[in-house]
């Protein structure tokens, strides 16, 4: 298997993951509860980390991984903030 073909496979997989993100967007928009939306966006964040890692491999740009790491570190923040907001109304941080 040549390196170019491998890169194309990585990029095609990244495109499929973006399609999956659009599918997951249905749950984020349709809901019905806010908890569904928060979970959907959390999955989208994990999806983003995977897409960035695949693009880093496919395009040969290792610094994409830095941005993927920032997302992996910050992804839980929204879920925590909204959970606190729902449980104790008024408290976010």
């Amino acid at each position: 298997m040549t390196a170019e073909l491998l890169d194309d496979i990585f990029l095609a997989t990244a495109a499929i993951f973006v399609l999956l993100a659009i599918a997951m967007l249905y749950r984020a928009v349709a809901g019905p509860t806010t908890q569904d939306r928060v979970l959907a966006v959390n999955v989208l964040g994990t999806n983003t980390v995977v897409i960035l890692a695949l693009l880093a491999a496919g395009l040969g740009q290792p610094w994409f991984l830095d941005i993927a790491l920032i997302y992996a570190l910050l992804n839980f923040l929204m879920a925590v903030a909204i959970s606190k907001f729902t449980v104790e109304r008024g408290g976010v941080l």
């Binding site: 966006v41 941005i67 929204m78």
Partner: protein, 179 residues
């Protein structure tokens, strides 16, 4: 790459429209988070690491918390309907305007790396940065090098302004957030 970019454009458009149309503010904030996810990947694809990192840090972390703080201190109108009613004549007018704008402006835009682009009009300056950036700063991306090294004091000043704004907001909110 273009395949990823086009599917990403669909994703970003869908999240943007959903954010604009949601009646419930909390849902709009959540979906806006996914909009910033898409934008961060797009910035990364366009090889703008500084912008992508800012979008990742601001979009995933700060914006959500600031908006949540805002609705925690105000009232959130609850209603049975999920989406706002769309004003069809307004949609037609706005899309016509956008169509005219895109058809007139996009055709005149230069492609990435086009030698006829205005950035090459002052070749001396452009060439200086392209040739000397790596030796001077050790940063491979010229844009990042200009922002963080050549214009370091400017960026430092921006950071001070943002810090002062944050301190001011914390004082106004009267909460011991860091306690």
């Amino acid at each position: 790459m273009s395949l990823v970019a086009y599917t990403l454009a669909v994703f970003i458009l869908a999240t943007a429209v959903a954010t604009a149309l949601f009646r419930d503010v909390l849902s709009a904030i959540v979906v806006f988070g996914s909009y910033s996810l898409g934008m961060a990947i797009l910035y990364t694809l366009l090889l703008a690491p500084d912008v992508a990192m800012t979008e990742a840090a601001i979009g995933a972390g700060v914006t959500t918390i600031l908006l949540l703080l805002t609705i925690a201190r105000t009232t959130r109108p609850t209603s049975e309907k999920i989406f706002e009613r769309v004003n069809l004549p307004a949609v037609v007018v706005v899309s016509a305007f956008v169509l005219v704008l895109v058809s007139t402006v996009l055709g005149d835009m230069y492609a990435v790396g086009d030698p006829a682009a205005p950035v090459w009009a002052n070749t001396e300056v452009t060439q200086y940065y392209i040739q000397h950036t790596y030796e001077d700063t050790g940063v491979q991306n010229a844009v990042t090098a200009v922002l963080a090294a050549y214009r370091g004091f400017d960026t430092f000043g921006e950071a001070v302004v943002v810090f002062a704004a944050g301190v001011a907001v914390l004082i106004v909110l009267k909460r011991e957030v860091f306690a």
